[in-house]
Subunit: 646 residues, 2 copies
């Protein structure tokens, strides 16, 4: 008998050789129907793998990341099986699970080209094979056996992969007639796959090398329930509607120019004004929390980044150095603001009484990304961090950490991100030489983060080994209105830069001490945050933030003068107001302005003019009745105050 | 007889061969005593040169730029004469007049080194020679005569200069025993020089070429009256006290770091806050005038600047291109914002009804300057322009120009620069192919500028031939509190970029038209303006702008709690307040805080605490009596409102 320990700490005894699936069945049949893989002592394995020794296990449903991994990996094999059935002789590259689904890179031969029109047939074949409930069977093979199999099959891609593997570590998986080189894990059988969709076709160089053959990459996604696919497709549809690149263009928030360069956002007037309001909001929150703004240049001498260590680590992969026409100087576009802030810290002697120093900057940084990686505002080559660095004494670390969490949570609340999680990343205690700093400092810092997160009642996951080499960190993920997760704020503890820049303060003992640094950015960057905000709100920004708050719609040109009077009144109250004075029917004007996501539409005609009032419509909600101007102003300001009243 | 026309248009007849000096004498002897040179038909000449034909003349006193030129040029000769008397065998390079005085580059031979200790002797010799009232005598010489003279004298520098001149254009000037190669003009005699001061000694390569010999450059300044020298030296002393580099350090406004790079300003918290207030002030003024803010990246593809023409013109002398690690792209640090703004203009179709479009950006640009040229915030390698570009129809040009003048004058007024002049720069009509654009556009644009300046009642000078190649412009010079002139705002008309970027709008005639661009920057740059503001105010910034408005000084630690109460009250009223809670005597605290230029010092002790009041001192002015807190708040806000009430 072996002892199996469950996540809740309970222990049961089973026969040696029992599988995760059988353990699930021992609990309930309905549980067993949902189990797609099992973690044994932390390793994600087939639910059908026998367990021979005492072990700690976790049974995974599709909802777990480990479950999804096995499910979508198995789905890639299912797609491969379907492709082989439909296109005999097809060769296979790699076929991994990804964040949302899976893909397989395939070589269909010289003459065959796959198009979207072919996808329904492949889906049909996959469904047919899924219904056969074929088991995924694991077989450990020798390197020679593996080479022989794929030589016979004539698949040079798999042969190349096998040649790089060590004998004794190689396994095949088979379902139905399809055999693949694979480490696993996989789901018990194809019957688990109840709903599927192939989403797109793209080209992909074999092993990402543009000098090698271009294969066909087929993307797909699968689910254990039909309703989950429907929800997913609905979410995709909504995501398309909310795509910040589309809305950014429609709402004239930002643009890109090929002549200026790809991945370099240009903020148009409405976007710049929105960003300015966000920055002012952060500025004001930070001022209240004792932050001081600084402004530093967008370049620094190469020497600065040699000192910080960034040049050695990233120099080769970044924008290359800028030479001067004379004097032989070398500058770099700044990839981060911290080295500049360390230089400010070092510009005068600091005493323990001066700490903490909280130095904030909306600092625009530039980092090279390959053009294929660029994506709207979320993956760019230049972005403005809502950056700050806190220089504090070790004994102030926990308190400062708590204060940063407070700011981030306050900001999430005001901006309506109410669903968030946090991840604490600690160092791997078994691999200490990967990290710099003393054991004592690490222990203090990790304890400070864990306690701070606990005191604030954060829902956290703890990831060991995920700390940066210079210190532990806390990252925030927010869930948007259609359930997608985005990484936003980050708080990082740093022992490295204070060392490298030899930062010091004179302690109460009159000796020199080294401060600790905290890096923090609640938004991450203005670009990233605005992108997430657009996708979260679908372009319907909070009233205080939105570019245009009110549009006045005269029902005919006769009332344009009165509309102007309304506009003047509201603009004087600092309410951002437009007029749609076009010679169009009022219905058309309402429709057009609803599309522009302007929160309030004020319709004015004969009655309104006589009574000095406006007919109020809320975008997406409809009629709110007629109000006097003063009344509308108060109504609006109440909504804004409520939003900022936390 | 010849006809002489005076600046007021009056005409008098004189014998042919009369001199400017004689003409002055014909008016009054006291006038003649002040005349140092004369412009004949626009050319600045010796007042003792005979005039042989009808001419328009202007008699120059020392106060005219032409007068100063002759005066200081003659003073350089006087210094040379003194040097030759004191250091026989000294050789001379060039010795021109400059903005404030003159210098001469001299070669004293291998063994002699000039130091500051030698200057009094040279000054004494100069005074002695000045008192001799030796005439400056002009003599036209052939090239051979000139070469012979300086060969005999053994001055290889003058020989090199003569060799580059054309025969028939060469003249000598002699005063006393000293003869120099010189074009002139000069003052009548050395007796005009009544006060003199040699200010410094520096090294200077012959002809600015670091591969040639280093000569000794001696700087000096002279005046026709002793009192003028005293005033000048007093101004120099004041300028030293007001030096923005010194005050910037003392008031902790900005810093430079060798590791970040020379010429790259880093704004410290107090400086960044001051700059932010200035930017917000401009933003709000510009918003009221229909400007829209945009934000563009700090780099652009080389292609962008090839299109704009900047690369061909400045590429070699700028920061060199930034390469990407892959993909072979080339970027440049942006030296100006206009190309980016043209790309925004081009991002959608524009109609005549959309114009004018006024696009503003606080855009940080980078331009390489040699390290020797760098100077505090006035000559830097990176600076933030308070930039805007107005895209308008040709028929809107004059109106838009007037509106820009309005903004600039409003800003000067609020910031207390009440003494300013403006220069209109037009093209040289005799050299039209130096410029781009049609005659018609130039005439319209020049007329628009001249009329706009006239309508606003500006005191302008008109400089023909000083226009940019792409259009005429208007530059503003302000005089600071100690009489120095600084160039600040500029307004430029541009026909070039609209052509190069093929900017268009659809006119009311449904045809495509080209808009005109106006470039404008009221401050020039935030860096330059803050430097000028520091030197103008001596660091005593206007109350609304100054980093810290109030400091509370408890007379002993017993009153620190009450001081905190005062601080909280004032900070709640958005009055920027500090406490000086050090355990120091109140007299010391007052002195220290006066030096920090904090406008209001509030002294609190027993009485103030009991009465909930403060004892108010104005920095540099002293006691203003005791006030209740509310009273002081109102007192302060009244001062701020008054400042902004234009």
């Amino acid at each position: 008998m072996i002892k199996i320990t469950f996540p809740d700490g309970s222990v049961r005894e089973y026969e040696a050789g029992i599988t995760g699936l059988d353990i699930a069945k021992s609990i309930s049949n309905s549980l067993a129907r949902d189990i797609v893989s099992v973690s044994v002592n932390g390793t994600n394995l087939d639910a059908t793998r026998p367990i021979h020794t005492d072990a700690t296990i976790k049974l995974h449903k599709f909802d777990d990341p480990e479950g999804k991994y096995a499910f979508w990996h198995s789905s890639a094999h299912l797609m491969a099986e379907a492709l082989e059935a439909l296109y005999p002789g097809v060769k296979f590259g790699i076929g991994p699970p990804i964040d949302n689904g899976f893909y397989y890179d395939v070589d269909l031969g010289e003459d065959r080209v796959l198009t979207d029109a072919d996808l329904p047939d492949i889906e049909a074949k996959m469904s047919e094979l899924a219904k056969q409930k074929n088991d995924y069977q694991r077989q450990e093979v020798s390197k020679q056996e593996a080479l022989d199999y794929f030589s016979d099959k004539g698949d040079e891609y798999k042969l190349e992969l096998i040649n790089e593997l060590e004998d004794g570590t190689i396994s095949f998986y088979q379902q139905g007639n399809f055999v693949d080189l694979c480490r696993g894990p996989h789901i018990p059988n194809t019957g688990f796959i109840k709903a599927l969709k192939l989403t797109s076709i793209a080209g992909a160089y074999w092993r990402g090398d543009e000098n090698r053959k271009q294969l066909t990459r087929v993307y797909g996604i699968t689910f254990p329930k039909k309703s989950m696919l429907d929800e997913y497709l609905e979410m995709l549809e909504q995501a398309k509607e909310r795509d910040h690149r589309k809305l950014g263009r429609e709402l004239e928030l930002f643009m890109f120019s090929n002549r200026v360069g790809q991945g370099l956002p240009i903020w148009l007037p409405k976007g710049a004004a929105l960003r300015e309001r966000l920055e002012n909001f952060l500025r004001s929150v930070q001022r209240k929390h004792g932050y001081q703004q600084v402004i530093t240049p967008h370049i620094g001498q190469k020497e600065l980044y040699v000192t910080s260590g960034h040049y050695a680590k990233y120099g080769k992969d970044s924008f290359q150095p800028i030479n001067t026409p004379a004097e032989g100087e070398e500058f770099l576009l700044k990839p981060m603001n911290c080295p500049h802030h360390c230089e400010i810290y070092n510009s005068k002697p600091r005493s323990y009484k001066d700490l903490p120093i909280r130095m904030a900057e909306f600092g625009t940084v530039y980092r090279y990304e390959q053009s294929g990686e660029l994506h709207g505002l979320t993956r760019v080559r230049g972005f403005t961090q809502d950056d700050a660095h806190i220089f504090c004494r070790p004994d102030q670390l926990k308190d400062e950490f708590i204060k940063v969490i407070d700011i981030i949570l306050y900001i999430f609340k005001v901006l309506d991100f109410n669903d968030y999680t946090a991840q604490i990343s600690l160092r791997d205690p078994g691999n200490k030489d990967k990290y710099i700093g003393t054991d004592e400092n690490w222990e203090k810092a990790e304890a400070a983060i864990i306690e701070a997160a606990e005191e604030k009642g954060l829902h956290t996951t703890v990831e060991t080994g995920e700390a940066a080499f210079y210190g532990p960190k806390l990252d925030f993920m927010v869930k948007d209105a259609i359930g997608r997760k985005w990484q936003l704020g980050t708080i990082q503890v740093d022992y490295n830069l204070p060392d490298r820049f030899e930062l010091e303060y004179i302690g109460s003992d009159d000796h020199r001490h080294r401060p600790v640094m905290i890096h923090r950015a609640p938004f991450g960057s203005m670009e990233r945050f605005v992108a997430v905000l657009i996708e979260h709100t679908g372009g319907k920004f909070p009233l205080w933030l939105t570019p245009d708050q009110v549009v006045v719609l005269p029902i005919s040109e006769k009332y344009n003068d009165y509309a102007q009077k309304v506009l003047n009144y509201l603009n004087n109250c600092d309410i951002r107001t437009l007029i749609d004075g076009r010679n169009e029917k009022i219905g058309r004007k309402i429709r057009d302005n609803e599309l522009l996501r302007i929160p309030y539409l004020l319709i004015v005609g004969e009655n309104e003019q006589n009574e000095e009032s406006v007919s109020v419509r809320r975008q997406g909600e409809g009629d709110k009745g007629t109000m006097k101007l003063k009344e509308f102003e108060q109504y609006l300001n109440k909504e804004i105050d409520k939003l900022l009243l936390y």
